[in-house]
Symmetry: C2
Amino acid sequence: MAVYTEVSDDELRDFMAAYDLGNLLSCKGIAEGVENSNFLIVTDYSPFILTLYEKRVNEGDLPYFLGLMEHIADQGFTCPTPVRTREGEALRRLAGRPAAIVTFLTGMWPSRINTDHCAALGKALAEFHGAGADFPMTRPNNLSIGGWSALFDKIDRKAAGEVQPGLAEDIATELVFLQDSWPDDLPRGTIHGDLFPDNVFFENNTLTGFIDFYFACTDWLAYDIAVCLNAWCFEPSGSFVPARGRALLQAYQSVRKLTDAELAALPILARGAALRFLLTRLYDWINHLPGALVRKKDPLEYRRKLAFHQKVRTVADYGVQ
Amino acid sequence: MAVYTEVSDDELRDFMAAYDLGNLLSCKGIAEGVENSNFLIVTDYSPFILTLYEKRVNEGDLPYFLGLMEHIADQGFTCPTPVRTREGEALRRLAGRPAAIVTFLTGMWPSRINTDHCAALGKALAEFHGAGADFPMTRPNNLSIGGWSALFDKIDRKAAGEVQPGLAEDIATELVFLQDSWPDDLPRGTIHGDLFPDNVFFENNTLTGFIDFYFACTDWLAYDIAVCLNAWCFEPSGSFVPARGRALLQAYQSVRKLTDAELAALPILARGAALRFLLTRLYDWINHLPGALVRKKDPLEYRRKLAFHQKVRTVADYGVQ
């Protein structure tokens, strides 16, 4: 939760003059989003979201992210959609940062997950994969198997051991296992890559869309499902809820049937996804700057989820019958 | 900038059901407000602001603050106005905190102050004082002359000296001076008490209203002007801008003429206002918790402003001819 870059009213008015969005009535920084600064702007017409892209986002990737949102919106998948200026620009600069305005997606993220949410998520995820299928741009997944060793090398082993004794050794062992077992070939496409509950909006129990495409990339489609199994299908207490896993996978398959190879790979992909969030959270935990305006997330939540997946033998353990 | 209390979608939906505000479409935490948690909620009808009152606000004062906003809005002064439930309640509870919904005030605060802003502010301030004149409730100003000694006693002298050598001694001397010189009797009424630029909204150059009445209280009306002289009439470099002071005071007097006693007292009141913000900022600076989600404000900005007012002899030094 943070606004890293302040925008003055004068700068904002100049910036907004390039769009056909009516008069600017209000602008409030939003206490959401860890990577970027987000503002809710209200004009005569509607609310919009203004994003200033901060250090963690590679500027060269922005045309991919904005292009993807525009593409899937064109395909009828609801998501924040970049707004173009009268000159046709979507990506601009404001207060020294790359900046874009996107449409306002109504809905709120569900803080208490239930099976219906997981079913709605599974269906929407398969639709998103369908909408992204012919997106012509690609982007490697830097936070998948190819990037984990480099990330692990940046983590201080001693500090990791202070978070939990033996943690660095556990991660090293898991990395070797995953490098040996990671699938060679699965159906590939555009994935969201970070489909946590706070990136999925609902109005009452109806899913209204996805937000935050800034980890989107080209990878195995089933990896997105593996992220969702981690992020949506555990109780806060740490237990896996098979009814949620079943709802997610059945609803996904009602739109796109998973191949046998995908189903067989799911436990490995879920271990990989758990390790990915364990590594990034652990890195952020250890390298957290005092006074940073972001709440730290517990890396050990993902160590425990990883431990669950390590015991999974087949996809049936996720609730698929 | 902070949201201290998280509100779940379920809790919020239950809370909103008591109002006639249409369907809840969205809720975003706002990165504004140091004292309370603020959310921008969007319904079918309009945006609204939801405030959860946090520790710094005394719960017993809330009926005063909400009553004041309602009263001055009734008098035609634009400000966020409390929304009542179908049962007539304005002050309720949410997520364990006192909570209220107020209307959404359009406009943005001016980050680069000019003379026109100061003129608009002066006029609006006098109108606000007029609108509050017959407000029947009262509240003592705990952050005026009667409260400064107690606040100063809570500040660690050694830590103050580390902020600036001699700072504690300077404050002690100023306190004695102010206690000897503070006016006994001036026109009294409801004051805003914290009228900094971020509490005054403009659309283009038109003032749309005041926000944040959580320091409002009963005190000399001219003390509000003294706060504004401090908060609006200095350059970021630290120089006082007489043209702004003149614009502020002339515009104020176009609505309510200041008495001779008020004009004579203004330099003392301005010293007091500078000391008030020096003390609260110094306290917050020294007692800042590492990791707190609030940016610290420089106390020495107000030490320098105090030094300017200490050299002022009459109100003419503020630009009044």
